[in-house]
């Protein structure tokens, strides 16, 4: 991460590339042999039945797996040509550049304003108060929440509805200006209307950000993603990548029998 590896962000086609990645929890191998290239400024959906390791793969992109003490990642994940798992890479910097939105909305028990300002503040924000106000507004506008909360920025983030909370969490992730945003089933705890809003938001964000989203909702994947990766649990209970390609192709003309079975609802 000390250099950009000679590939400038504008040139590279892929934001993230994994090479033969395995993730273990203790002695249990949760996912194996993952080779996945995430395209820049596209939405990549990770789908598959529960327990197939899609969240584990997502969390290995910003080293969140490390928060589980027994977790271990083998193989490589390239970001700007640099392996994220090199010994000299700081996970703090990884997460600073690759943001994350979680399954359940998890705003801090702070004001809406402070929720968004938190990330920039800890990451050495150098601007003025006015800059910060501006950043908060921009982030909230980008997550289409500004109009709903502009008059109550000092209220607790927990006072918002579930869908608003999730958009607040997205705004919070945007405020640290990441290149990639990982979303771990961001709509699973939301009602359909909020879900729709988040999906619209993702389309907007795609202009500037690379988005990887885990979802167990196939309609969502087919509606809202450019590329789709399908995971399945193998016989040894380790998740594997079965098929990966443009969403339309994967849903209309799957190359693998198992993918076809899954999307046609035969199992999972």
């Amino acid at each position: 991460m000390t250099t950009n590896g000679g590939i400038s962000p504008q040139d590279a086609k892929y934001a993230l590339e994994t090479r033969d990645m395995h993730v273990y929890y203790g002695s249990f191998r949760a996912v194996k042999h993952i080779n996945l290239n995430v395209e820049r400024q596209k939405i990549t959906a990770l789908i598959g039945p529960s327990g197939c390791g899609k969240s584990t793969v997502l969390r290995s992109f910003n080293r969140m797996n490390e928060l589980v003490p027994s977790a271990r990642v083998e193989g490589k994940v390239f970001f700007h040509g640099k392996n994220l798992y090199d010994s000299n890479v700081d996970p703090v910097e990884v997460r600073r550049r690759i943001g994350m939105v979680f399954q359940k909305p998890n705003p801090f028990p702070k004001s809406i304003y402070d929720n968004i300002a938190f990330g920039p503040r800890i990451n050495g924000w150098q601007g003025t108060k006015a800059d910060m106000d501006n950043l908060v507004e921009q982030s909230l506008r980008a997550s289409v929440l500004w109009d709903e909360v502009k008059d109550k920025l000092k209220e607790s983030g927990l006072s918002l509805s579930g869908g608003q909370q999730q958009r607040l969490c997205i705004a919070r992730a945007l405020a640290i200006e990441p290149e990639v945003i990982l979303m771990d089933e961001p709509c699973s705890a939301l009602d359909p209307i909020s879900t729709l809003k988040i999906e619209e938001l993702m389309f907007e964000l795609r202009r500037q950000y690379t988005i990887v989203i885990v979802t167990h909702n196939m309609q969502q994947a087919s509606r809202a993603s450019d590329n789709t990766a399908f995971f399945l649990m193998d016989n040894d209970r380790a998740g594997t990548l079965v098929e990966y390609g443009p969403t339309e192709q994967l849903f209309t003309n799957p190359q693998d029998k198992r993918t076809e079975d899954y999307i046609s609802g035969r199992f999972g």
Partner: protein
């Protein structure tokens, strides 16, 4: 939607590249320093524990200088240890006052005592050995020469010995105004009697209250008051319980707690300042703790067990007695033992209730005057002389061993009951 900001808009103030690396390095550094600070504050507890034990052990062992009022050489031509029984008796006859000699003879004829016992009497009554100086363990180990020089100068006739202040005699001797002869026997017995009464009083009532609150109480105002009240009682300073005990058990219930109600007119019972008063006071003190522990254990018994019992036609009490209580018992017992060990160490209420500081007779029932282990420690600690400090340390060791044993029993009992029930 067009208002989406440009990521590249670095006017925002987020540090990039080099600035970001410096920033992260600084934060990492700060993190390491604070992790050290936090770890240190966690280990302070361990450090204090070590220092505390070291202080106590340091005072419990060490050199003493013993000086005799009568030089043994003037009463015997050989060292005292080598004298036979008969020779020792002769010495006693020659040197003791008639009255003292007859008292000893009355207690047990001298001829029937063994050599060691006679030697002890000669030392105490004739030679009158006296501890004129004592030094803690650290000085004993590292500064012996200085101690010897000091003794040689100040007490030329004194003899230097190593003494463990905690020893079998210390456990079996009653209280004495001479530190070297004092023991904790009376205090230990007082503590045991008191705790017995405390348990008899607090355990049934505490468990009863917990059963009431968990199994019977509905959500009414008075039950809520009872529950809140228990939480509040747990936070009342222990000395307040002492004042309650003083006013209620010692004073108001004096006929009961002094035993006069039961025809006891022993003048030594000192008003209501008896073991019974102290035990009841301690009982009230630990009651909230027992109730809370018992409530938690009862709550942990699965509801399915109760339903199964009701389903078989059991009454409420049958269900509680046969199913709920056995299931909750390990937790209740553990909680009780832990609260009892708190009661054993409590001192303030006993001072207020009126534990005697100096008695030599063993307590023989609930209506006795009494002293207790922590009272003895307090009393000895409060005296200025070094040697009392030494026996206070020895008494602390006894107290800590008692507490440690109780806690070990609590753990073993819980494991034993769990294991037996799981078969």
């Amino acid at each position: 939607m067009s208002s989406v900001s440009q990521t590249g808009n670095t006017s925002s103030g987020m540090p990039t590249d080099e600035a970001m690396h410096r920033n992260i390095a600084q934060r990492r550094q700060r993190g390491r320093i604070w992790q050290g600070v936090l770890f240190a504050s966690t280990t302070i507890g361990m450090l204090v524990l070590v220092i505390l034990l070291a202080t106590i052990i340091n005072e419990s062992f060490g050199l003493i200088a013993v000086q005799s009022t009568v030089d043994p050489a003037t009463i015997a031509d050989r060292p005292l240890e080598e004298l036979s029984k008969e020779e020792l008796i002769v010495i006693l006859e020659d040197n003791l006052k008639r009255r003292v000699y007859q008292r000893l003879e009355r207690e047990q004829p001298l001829a029937e005592r063994d050599q060691a016992a006679l030697l002890e009497i000669v030392r105490v009554e004739v030679v009158q050995e006296e501890v004129v100086g004592s030094w803690p363990l650290n000085e004993t180990l590292f500064n012996r020469a200085a101690i010897e020089a000091e003794v040689a100068e100040e007490f030329p006739r004194a003899e230097i010995q190593f003494r463990s202040w905690i020893n079998p005699d210390f456990l079996t001797n009653p209280m004495s105004s001479v530190p070297a002869l004092a023991g904790v026997r009376t205090a230990l017995l007082g503590t045991l009697w008191m705790i017995g009464i405390t348990i008899l009083f607090a355990f049934p009532i505490g468990v009863g209250a917990a059963i009431y609150l968990e199994e019977y109480a509905t959500d009414t105002w008075y039950n809520r008051i009872i529950q809140t009240n228990i939480a509040n009682l747990a936070g009342v300073p222990s000395i307040i319980y002492g004042m309650l005990g003083l006013a209620i058990f010692v004073r108001a219930f004096e006929p009961l707690t002094s035993g006069t109600l039961f025809g006891l007119t022993d003048p030594t019972t000192a008003n209501g300042r008896t073991i019974l008063s102290a035990g009841l006071t301690m009982g009230l003190l630990i009651l909230p703790v027992i109730i809370i522990a018992a409530q938690e254990s009862i709550r942990a018994v699965p509801n399915s067990l109760r339903q199964a019992s009701y389903g078989l036609g059991a009454t409420k009490w049958q269900t509680i007695w046969n199913h709920v209580l056995p299931g909750a018992m390990p937790g209740i017992l553990t909680g009780t033992i832990l609260s009892v060990s708190r009661a054993i160490g409590e001192t303030a209420p006993l001072i207020v209730v009126g534990a005697s500081t100096f008695i030599v007779t063993d307590p023989d029932g609930p209506f006795s005057k009494f002293t207790a282990l922590p009272i003895q420690i307090y009393n000895w600690t409060a005296r200025p002389q070094d040697q009392f400090r030494d026996i206070a340390a020895a008494a602390i060791i006894v107290l800590l061993i008692v507490l440690l044993t109780l806690n070990a029993i609590a753990v073993l009992l819980r494991d034993y009951i769990r294991k037996r029930r799981s078969i």
